[in-house]
Symmetry: none
Subunit: 204 residues, 4 copies
């Protein structure tokens, strides 16, 4: 990831340092919580001076936002790319679930920041996460509607509500995984969630 930009970059050092700070922040936030994390901790973890942090981020809060923005952006971009190659809406949902849980499962620290630290602020959830989250939810919703048009998903369901239920289920999987003392694989939960959501709990 770093090597890709290291050639011919006009500001290679800057990019690396910003990246280092961001990764350090994820680690620090995950271990101490956002409010208990000091900017000095992040700086030390990133191997830079306190003041240097402010050359790349306007404030401690902006670091948190950047973590969110970058991750959601990547997730959506990656999601769109992969979904474009799939036509079956059910398979698309499955791919969303897999990507979601893979991403969270791959980096426990990032997952903690996402599932816990990012939730503790109404202001943040309202103002900042709004755009990115809405887009993510819209992606799911569009897939549902696609399935409805295709006749594979029940037309009488409200697609937006289904999208929320789907997201809520995945989100809870991730949160539970983080808080669980028992260590288990997160990704395999995707198919179970999908089975429940697609086929329902009721015996036919």
């Amino acid at each position: 990831m770093r090597s890709a930009r290291s050639m011919n970059s006009l500001r290679p050092v800057v990019v690396d340092k910003r990246e280092a700070i961001l990764r350090a922040a994820i680690r620090v936030f995950a271990h101490n919580g956002y409010f208990n994390s000091k900017v000095a901790d992040i700086a030390r973890e990133a191997g830079v001076a306190d003041g240097t942090v402010y050359l790349y981020f306007k404030s401690k809060e902006e670091i948190l936002h950047s973590i969110f923005d970058r991750t959601v952006e990547e997730a959506i971009s990656e999601g769109r790319k992969q979904l474009g190659q799939i036509s079956d809406p059910r398979e698309k949902l499955r791919r969303i679930a897999l990507l979601h849980l893979e991403r969270m499962g791959a980096d426990r620290d990032l997952a903690v920041v996402f599932q816990v630290e990012l939730r503790g602020s109404t202001k943040f959830m309202e103002e900042f996460s709004a755009a990115g989250f809405a887009e993510y939810l819209g992606l799911i919703r569009a897939t549902i509607e696609e399935g409805q048009s295709a006749g594979v998903f029940r037309r009488e369901l409200n697609a937006k509500v289904v999208a929320k239920v789907f997201f809520g289920a995945l989100d809870e999987m991730a949160t539970n995984w983080i808080l669980s003392k028992r260590r288990y694989k997160l990704v395999p939960m995707a198919d179970q969630v999908l089975d429940i959501l697609l086929n329902g709990v009721s015996e036919k």
Copy 2:
């Protein structure tokens, strides 16, 4: 609950003051966020002196815990009572969903504290919410297993996972409702969630 002690209470003032502080804290936490709320704000809102808060709570954090504990306790107790009078597992799930959303929908401030403020601390989520939350999830899980035994729910599903998916869906409904600019009724979402969960999204 309040009516019971309103007559001939020996220490009505004490009870009322603790209650007043708790309710004030819910309001203050909901509007400013836990970390941005000052104990002095809570005291003012409750109409008591700063120091009085510490006659009833050991610390600012304990106030947050008390809000959580009391609410979950009431919810579980109320849940058990109502579920005891129902035999159909599907109807039981519906009742859980209704109680969950009714409780959150009835007090927006409390809902904000629950859906947002209580989430922002790994420590809190790990240490404190653990017991109460586990019990709540266990209640749902037991209902699922009951339904599986009765043959109305698919036996091949992992009851615990179903419980998480169910909780996750309800939780997301509540969070979305809080953050939504549009004001809509939360309780009616219960039946939509139930329909999706029980019957699935797929067209048969």
Copy 3:
């Protein structure tokens, strides 16, 4: 001590309670230090309510003053009485030393308050202890001057300075005894101090 006044006292309860508070304060101050002692601690130790303390003392500080005043008063009164029966100035000095160390050695808690807690305030030492201490020092000085007149003490010495040296020596004995981990008898030090002061350190 309490039994003596319990008969025919018009306010026996009051006297006992004031006494109880004073004794409780000595214990509490000795163990926690004046500034770290809470009025509530004293009240609990004395077996009365917090507010009751203020029926007998104007403030926490006044309690400290009362301890000082009462003890010095008793010491001086007892000292005068005993010294009146002695004519030899050397024997008088010895009696002062004995009384001083006996009083401190008899009640370690009181000694701690006297040697340590009462010293930590310029204001106290200046304003309050002034009178009592000056009188005590005057008692010693008078004895020195008496000895000088009688020709048993060197006339060329400044009596006031001798009094300070004498007091300083006794005071240091008391302080050292309190802070010492090793438990030894304080009173026997009187004769050693006296020997040094009267006869000097130099070999003749």
Copy 4:
């Protein structure tokens, strides 16, 4: 001491700032008492921001300890140096007395902190002053024993007790000088104390 680092010091600012805070603290403690002194007062007096104090000292208490440690250290070091050049034990005692009173007499604020503020805490006197004070007392005691070996001091006296009496006398001189309204020179008291201690009060 200060001149040594005034040239070519790499961190003159740091040194000066720590020094400034220490000197400010002595002034503030002397005038208001330790417990009544606010860290903000010290900072203002030192011409730095409140937070800066904590860049050089861990806590308000550590400032007090530093004052004690530095002063005792200097006193002992200076004492050893000067005593090394003297052979007559009597002259050595005189030098100790002079150094003791000179140091206290040279800086009234420092003297107040030493004679009053540092005394008001059993904990401090036990834990912290222990080492330094013991060493100082040991210095005096060694001189006494030297004199006893040399035959100029009475062999039957307990050297440790003599040391305490000597210290107690000097200590009382200093305390009295501080509390006295009348302004007089402290240093000249040394010879009077010495005369009393060495030759005794009794007429031969």
